[in-house]
Structure formats: structure tokens, C-alpha cells
């Protein structure tokens, strides 16, 4: 019996084109053995959630460097609830303040990383999260 790989959707919401972080993280996750789907740029929250549901992913990772994180993360969480897809873990990263990260975590974003973070921290966090939950 082969174990199903953890599937991760790396997504870029909004009009901003700063995709260096999203691409580097996507590649690091792929190199770490996860199955990675990258949405490409300029996605609406609706498109991201639709892709996540369709691709049956375990994790959505949002990269936001446009300052719109306080709008985008809550919107994605709401759409996930609407679609009955709350089991999908929402994580993310970008330019955001510690205070904002706290607020987002309080409403259900599982983990957030700032711009200086290491990709290995993200890999380790996902491994840890999914080793403790029986799948």
C-alpha cells in the first residue's frame, strides 16, 4: 500500500506579480517530496478555492506581498466553509506585521511566515502537522 502524498496548492491571490517567494516555496515543497500545484498569478479567492476543492488538496499556501492579506485570508476561509472544505489547512506568507499574523491565526489560518523565513521551516511545519493527524 502506498501512502498518498500530501497535496499542496501554492496560490497567488490578487493582481500583484511578486511571485519569487511563491515559486521558491513551491519548489522547496516539491523537493521535499510533497505534491505541489501552483496556480500562477492573478487568482481571485473564488478561483483558488475552486482549484483547491477540485484538486483535493490538503493544504493551501497563499503568498501575499500586496498588503491585502487582511482581506484575502478571511475571504478564503469563508469560501472554504461555504464549500464544506474546512478540512483544508490554510497557511501563508508575505509582508505582514506580527499583530496581523496573530489576528489571522485567531480566525483559523494555521500558520504564517514573514519574508525572511526559511523554506525548511515551512517543510518541517507541514510534516509535523500531517504526521500527528491520522490520514
Amino acid at each position: 500500500m502506498t501512502e498518498r502524498k500530501i497535496r499542496i496548492l501554492v496560490a497567488k491571490p490578487g493582481l500583484d506579480g511578486h511571485d519569487r517567494g511563491a515559486k521558491v516555496v513551491a519548489r522547496a515543497l516539491r523537493d521535499a517530496g510533497f505534491e505541489v500545484i501552483y496556480t500562477g498569478l492573478h487568482q481571485t479567492p473564488e478561483q483558488i478555492v475552486a482549484t483547491a476543492v477540485q484538486e483535493d488538496v490538503d493544504v493551501i499556501g497563499l503568498s501575499v506581498l500586496s498588503g491585502t492579506h487582511m482581506l484575502v485570508f478571511p475571504r478564503i476561509l469563508a469560501l472554504l466553509r461555504q464549500q464544506g472544505a474546512e478540512h483544508i489547512t490554510l497557511i501563508g506568507g508575505g509582508t505582514m506585521l506580527p499583530k496581523e499574523m496573530r489576528e489571522l491565526k485567531a480566525i483559523g489560518v494555521a500558520a504564517l511566515w514573514g519574508v525572511d523565513s526559511s523554506t525548511q521551516e515551512i517543510v518541517a511545519w507541514i510534516r509535523d502537522r500531517f504526521s500527528s493527524t491520522a490520514r
Binding site: L15, A22, L41, P98, G114, V115, D116, S118
Partner: protein, 561 residues
Amino acid sequence: MLDPKKLEAIRKELQAWEKTELAAFQARRPERQKSFTTLSGREVKRLYSPPDIADFDYVEKLGFPGQYPFTRGPYPTMYRAQPWTMRQIAGFGTAGATNERFKFLIAQGQTGLSVDFDMPTLMGYDSDDPRAFGEVGREGVAVDTLADLEDLFDGIDLGGISVSMTINPTAWILLAMYVALAEKRGIPLEQLSGTVQNDIIKEFTAQKEWIYPVKPSLRIVRDSIIYSVRHLPRYNPVNISGYHIREAGSTAVQEAAFTLAAGIAYVEEVRKTGLDVDAFAPRLSFYFISHSDFFEEVAKFRAARRVWARIMKERFGAMRPESMRLRFHCQTAGSSLTAAQPMNNVVRTAYQAMAAVLGGCQSLHTNGMDEALAIPSEAAMRLALRTQQILLEETGVAHSVDPLGGSYLVETLTDQTEREIWTYLDRIDGFGGTVAALERNFFQQEIADSAYAYQVAKERGEKIVVGVNRFREDEPEEPSIPLHSIDPRTEQTQKERLARVKRDRDSGRIRKLLDELKEVARTDQNLMPVTIECVRAYTTEGEIVNALKEAFGLYREPIVF
């Protein structure tokens, strides 16, 4: 070139030094690293001396400033006659809010303006478009119609100050608005000086703001260049940019090579219309990053000037020196700034600014220390501007032209950079040119690979970032510096304004003009005159962009990571 006898004597002395002095010292004190590499991963030797530049032909490689191949600088006296333009970019909220920031910067001694637009304006969505939700006025200023541009430059003498606009797929519309505004104010177009970025190729490869497919996008750039050289003799209709390529993760050489490759594509595109290369090449301008590796950056600027001069002369047969002379704007590296210990960013930016000046930039933006955290605050921008003023007025680095010229290290690095740029340009020609390479995702893949290699090196601790992977401190819960805050009313204010403008205009005339625009798009005529007519009647940016989607189609992103 050195006298062969003298060179031989130096070589012998060098070998002797290596065997005696150096060997003995190394035995006592080994070097602290096996090798030393530049930020781009190029190995740097312990010492550079005359044998490293043994075949160096001064006249061929350097010449004199303001002369072919312009290695030492585009002008004979450089900053002695005219200091670089201190041009801090600004843009947030409504046009009125940015206008206030502009006036503040001018009062602080800034000598040129530079406009940052919000994402919807950059991508061709009006503020009332659902896709603009949450992004109106956030990362830049919102401009929907000519009315916003009128507010943006209210009380600012456009005939007297140069204005740079960072905008790309919608650049031609903003250029049209700028022309319409000048005409409205009675400023002769010959007086307008400034730059519109308008470099769509690096959008596809690096910055990722696009609307139409590659070919119609290039046609738009072509049309704006041709319009501009005919009507705006002091204006730079394209600013061929390496900045975003580097920020997306490329090496220094890739930055220079891919930028020059884009330059080649624009020259070819305009020449196809039959316009003589010397009629427009002098108006092409460039934009590079000044990153953290000091000598690598200085060498990059010098090599880029030399390669461009050769391209223009040898490949395109330009005759006028102005066509071969590369002029560039420079910005310090946003991606080098850290959220941790933000005051450290002031120091990083100062060194990077010095590299830009020693590399011969024509204008410079120094980043605010808070840019890894937020849109720069007024205080951060003032300090960044003061950094440039100290550089010019106190350090003395601008007194002499190309002061690092002749350094064994800098000349060796300049030659190396030049060779590596040519290798890339040959590879790109091998694909069939810049557009063909772009369509095969060559640039995108090269940049993604370099970005990843750098990240891996950083995480292994091979690349040190002070405050991040070395010399860390416990960060305070809240940032230690005051930050710019977003006005939450901006989006609503801007939408109301747009609704008012739409109500007061002649909608029948707008429909007629948009039909004309579509008609011109289907032919090969220049898009600029009809676009100017459109904006003068307060047609919105989004209406113009949407009108052309039918004729031009939409770009589809290839997924490369």
C-alpha cells in the same frame, strides 16, 4: 597595455611573493573561507594585479567618459556638471494624497518625481472593477481618468521637473494622459521631460504585469516609442529594466544580459517600421538594480554600458554616439532589506547607493528602511533621500569620473561580466531572438533557477544576511519603527470620484472614440493619437483596456517554477 618586459618582471615578483610571504603567512593564519564568492556566486580571487589585465587595451575597453564605448560613463564630466537626479518613487491612496507626498519630497530637495501606481491601474482595471477590490490605492496611487492625473500633478510645474512613471501594460494610456494634461495646461510638448517604464518584455519574464499577448504588447511599446520621438524630444518612452529581473531572483549577469536582450527586441521592433535607428535609439533609457555586492554591481554597470555601445554600433549600425550611450536609473535592492532589525536597512541602502554612483547612474531611488514591512513612511523616505544627499555632498565620491576605473579587480570583473553577457546574448540569438526565447520560457526558467539556488545557499548559511541567519536578536512584538498606515476610506473615495467623472462626461462621444480605437487597433496605425483623444474626453483606463481585449486577446501565463 603594459610593456611586456615590465609585465614579466611583475609576474616574477608575484610568483616569488606567493612562494615566500604569502605561503608563510597562510601557514600561520589560514584564510577564513575556502573560497570567496560574489552575491551572484562568482568566485573572487585573493588579489588582482597587472597580470590579470595583461592584454588590457585602454582605448578599446574604456576610452574616455562620454565617448565610445562609454565604459567610464555616458557624459564627459559626469556629476561635476550635473549630479544624478534624486528621484524617490512615491504613490499611495488617492491622487490628492500622493500630490501632498510629492510636494513634501520637492520641499526636502528632491530633484525629480517618480510615480508608483496601484495594482488595478498597473493592470488596467478601474477602481470600481470587482478585480480591484481591496487593492485601490494600496501599493500605489489610483488613476482611472485624466481627472486623477490633474490632481496628481496639481501645483507642480511639469515643464520644469522630470516625471517618471512606473507603469507597463497600460503605459501608453498614462503617457496619453500626461500629454493631454500638458496640452490642457498649455505646456509645449517639447518641454516635457521624464520617463515611462513601458518595458513589457520584463513583465513577461519578471514583474508579471500583463494584459495582451506578446505581439500586440510589443506593438503598443513600438507605437509609444514612435509617437514620443516625434512629439516629445526630451522624453524617454521606454525604460528597459533589469531591476525586476534581479528582484525576481536572477544573478547580476542575467539581469544585465536579459535587459540588453529586451533592448535589442525593442530596437528591432521599431526598425521594422522603417525608422532609422539613430532617430530613436538616443531616447532609450535603462533601469538597473544596485544590489549588495559592491564591486560586482560597479562592474555590471560598466559592462552594460560597454556591451550596449557595441550592440548599437556593430549590430544595428548606429552612427550617432547618443544612440550608443547607455543612460540608466538605479534603485537599491528591495529584496535585500529585512523585516528583522529594520534600521540595518539604512546601512544596506547606503552602500548600495554608493555602488550605483560609482557605477555612473543618472538617477537614483534609495529604498526606505521599512520596505520589508510596509509602504514607506514619510520619515523613512526623508532618511533615504538624505542618504543620497550625504553621498553627493559629504563623501567626495562624485568629484571624479569613474573613480574605480583602472582598479585591477574592477576591470577584471567588468571584463568577466561583459564576456558572460555576450554568452547569454548568443544563446538568446540561438533561440531565434528575445521574443522566441521568451516564448520558450527561457528567461523565466533561468530566473526561477537562480532564485532557488540563492535561497538554498542562504538556508545553508553560505550566504549571510545580518539579523536573519547571523546576529539575530529577539524581535520586539511590534516593529521598532513607525510605519505608514493605509487610509481605509481610499477605495470608497476613489470609486465615488470615478462615478462623478463618468456622470459629467459625454458618453456618446466616449462610445464613438472607443469604436475608433478598436478600428485603429485592427490596422497597423499608431495607437497613440486616438488614445490621447479618448483620455481627453475622460474615457477611463479600464474602458480603453477592455476595448482592445477583443482585437488583441489575452496573455496566458506559462507555469514555471
